[in-house]
C-alpha cells in the first residue's frame, strides 16, 4: 500500500512539475514578460524593442519577410503594381562606397520614441502605444499619406485597392496606411513577433525598460546601432553589424 502511495505521490509530483514547466516556460524561459489579459490596459512600464544581428542573418532577412507576410497577409494585392504593393518589411542591400563592404538587412518600422509619423498625422491615427509600439488606427486614418512623407525609414505602405480575406489579428483595408506593428497581436498574447521567431539566432525581442531583460543586458554590454541615429528618434529597433 505504502509503495502504491509512494508511486502515486511521485506520479503526481511529476505531472504537477511538468504542468508547471509547460505553464511557466513561455514566460520564464522563452520570454521575459507574460501575456497581457485582453481587458488589461497597455502599460508604459514596458518598452518593447528588437535587436537584429545582421551578421547572423544568413539570408539577409528573407525568412523574416516571409514570416511577416504569412502573419499579416500583405503583398498579395491583385491590381496594384510592384511599387504600389504593401511591404511591411523589406530586405535592403547596402554597399559601402569606399570599402565595398556589402550586407543585407531587414528594414521595417523602427518604432521611434519620437516618431515623425505621429507628429504629422492630422487625425492622430498614427499612434504609439504606451509600450512603445507604433501603429496606425485604421478607424481614424483618412489616407492622406503625410506620415509616409515624414517617415525617414520609408516603413509605411498605402493600400491601393480593396482587400479581401484579411487575417483576423491584422485589420487592413483600402485607402489607409499601414506598417509593421511589431506583431502587436502576438505580443499581447505573450508571443514573439513573427520575424523574431523566424530568425531566432539573429533577432532578440524584449522589454527595453527592464534592466534584467536579455535585450537590455546585451545592449548595455555591447550597444546597438540605430539607422539614421543623427535624427535623434531613439528607435526601438537596434542593429548589430551595420
Amino acid at each position: 500500500m505504502s509503495n502504491i502511495n509512494s508511486y502515486r505521490r511521485k506520479f503526481l509530483i511529476g505531472v504537477t512539475g511538468t504542468a508547471a514547466a509547460v505553464t511557466l516556460a513561455p514566460g520564464v524561459f522563452l520570454r521575459q514578460v507574460q501575456a497581457k489579459a485582453n481587458d488589461e490596459a497597455v502599460s508604459d512600464k514596458v518598452r518593447w524593442g528588437m535587436l537584429i544581428d545582421v551578421n547572423k542573418l544568413e539570408d539577409g532577412g528573407d525568412a523574416c519577410i516571409e514570416a511577416c507576410k504569412k502573419e499579416h497577409g500583405w503583398g498579395n494585392e491583385e491590381h496594384s503594381s510592384d511599387l504600389q504593393d504593401a511591404q511591411w518589411i523589406r530586405k535592403v542591400k547596402v554597399t559601402e562606397k569606399m570599402t565595398g563592404k556589402a550586407m543585407s538587412l531587414p528594414v521595417m518600422c523602427q518604432h521611434c520614441e519620437t516618431a515623425p509619423c505621429i507628429d504629422v498625422c492630422p487625425t492622430g491615427a498614427s499612434m504609439k502605444r504606451p509600450d512603445g509600439i507604433v501603429q496606425v488606427n485604421k478607424h481614424v486614418c483618412i489616407g492622406c499619406r503625410y506620415c509616409m512623407m515624414a517617415c525617414p525609414y520609408k516603413a509605411r505602405s498605402f493600400i491601393h485597392e480593396t482587400l479581401t480575406d484579411q487575417r483576423p489579428g491584422t485589420p487592413r483595408g483600402k485607402g489607409t496606411v499601414e506598417s509593421c506593428n511589431m506583431c502587436v497581436n502576438r505580443v499581447d498574447a505573450g508571443k514573439n513577433p513573427a520575424c523574431v521567431d523566424a530568425a531566432p539566432k539573429a533577432m532578440l525581442f524584449g522589454d527595453l525598460n527592464d534592466p534584467e531583460s536579455k535585450i537590455s543586458k546585451v545592449l548595455k554590454k555591447y550597444g546597438g546601432t540605430q539607422i539614421r541615429a543623427d535624427l535623434g528618434l531613439n528607435t526601438g529597433v537596434r542593429y548589430w553589424g551595420i
Binding site: 511599387l83 507628429d119 491615427a125 483618412i142 489616407g143 498605402f158
Partner: protein, 407 residues
Amino acid sequence: MATKAVFSEIKNSGLGFWAVLGFFGLLVLGGVWAFMVMHHGHYVTGMDNQIVWGMPHVFAIFLIVAASGAANIATIGTVFGKKIYQPLGRLSAFLAAALLVGGLIVLLLDLGSIGHVIEMAKGALNFKSIFAWNMILYSGFLGIIVVYLWTMMDRRKIAKALYKPVGIANMIWRFLLTMGTGSIFGFLVSRQYYDAAIMAPLFIVISYVIGTAIYTLVLMASFKMTGRELGDAVLNRLRSTLAIFIAAVLFLVLARHLANLYATEHHGVEGYMVGGGSGFSSLFWYGQIVMGSLIPMFLIWCRFLKNNRFALIGAAIFAILGGFVQFYIILIGGQSYPLVLFPNAEVSSSFGDGAFNAYSATLPEFMLGLGGVGLTICMVIIGMRFLRLLPTNLADEVADPHHKAEV
C-alpha cells in the same frame, strides 16, 4: 465700403456665358468621373508607395496657394488704402474663396478614406500636425472671406466700419494660411528637398504671383465678355504687381538653392533638382525660370510692350504655368529623390531604396485636378451672375484717382 464704384451682376447671360460655364462644367464632370474611378482604389493612379503625393496634390496646392494670392488684390485696397484697387476687392475675395474650395475638394477627394474625415469633425485632431492646423486655417479663411465680402457689399454703417479691420484680419490669416501650406514641406527632416524653413515665405510670394496672374486673367476675360470697359491704369498696376512678385520669388529661390549648396550633404539633391541630373532640372530651368519667370518679366517690363494687353495675358499665362511647374518640381521631384538610409553607401531593395523614383500621372489624376479648376471657375461665373462682384466700369477716368484727361 470704401469706394463709390458701381457694381452689377452679369446680366446678359447669352450663348457666350453658357458656353464658358458649360466648358468648365464639363471639367467638373470629368473630376466627378475621376473620383468614381479612384474610389475603387489608388491603383488606377501613377502614385505608389514611393511617390505618395501626385498630380492631384500639385493641382490642389496650386489652387490653395493661388487662393491666398488672389485675395491680395483686395488687401492692397483695404489695408494699404490704394484706391485704384478698391473696386477690385469683391472679385478678389470671391475668387480667393472659389480657388480655395476648388483646391480643397481635390485634396479631399484624393484621400484614401474620405469617410473617416468625419472622425476629425468629432474631434480626432492632432494639433502637432501642420495638416490639422491647415484644416482650421482653411475653414477660417472661408469664414473671414464671407465677412470681408459683406463689409464690401453692404452699405450699412457697421459694414463700413468693419471693412478695414476685417481686411487686416484677412491679410494676417492669409499669411498664416500660406505659411502653413508651405510648412507642409518645411519640416520633413528625412527628405532632402523639404527640410527648409524658407518654404513658408517662399509659398507666400509664390501665392502673390499665381494669385495676381489668375486674377488678371479672370478680370480681363469677364470684362471682355460682359462688354465692360477696363482701362490701362488698373491693368498696369496688376502688371507691375505681377512682375515684382515674380522677381521676389526668384530671389527666394536663389537664396534657397544657394543655402542648400553651402551644405555638402545637399549637393546630391541640388545636382538632381537643378544641376542637370534629371528631368526635374530641365523643368526647373526651362519651365520655372525661363518660361515662368524671365519671359513674363520681359513681357511686362519690355518698353515696346507697354500697355500691350496680349503681352500681359501672355505674361499671366506663363506665370501660372511656371507656378504650376514649380509646385510639380517641389512635390514630385522632392519625393523622387531617394531617402538617405545609409550615408556614403549604395542601397537597393524591392521597395525603391536608393532609386530615383519615377512618376507619370494617369488620366484620372489629371481629370481630378482639372475638375478642381473647373469647379473654381464655375463658382466664379455663377458668383458673378448672382452677386455684384464686377464694377460696371474700370476705364481710366473712372478707376484711376490720378487720371488726367488727355489734352
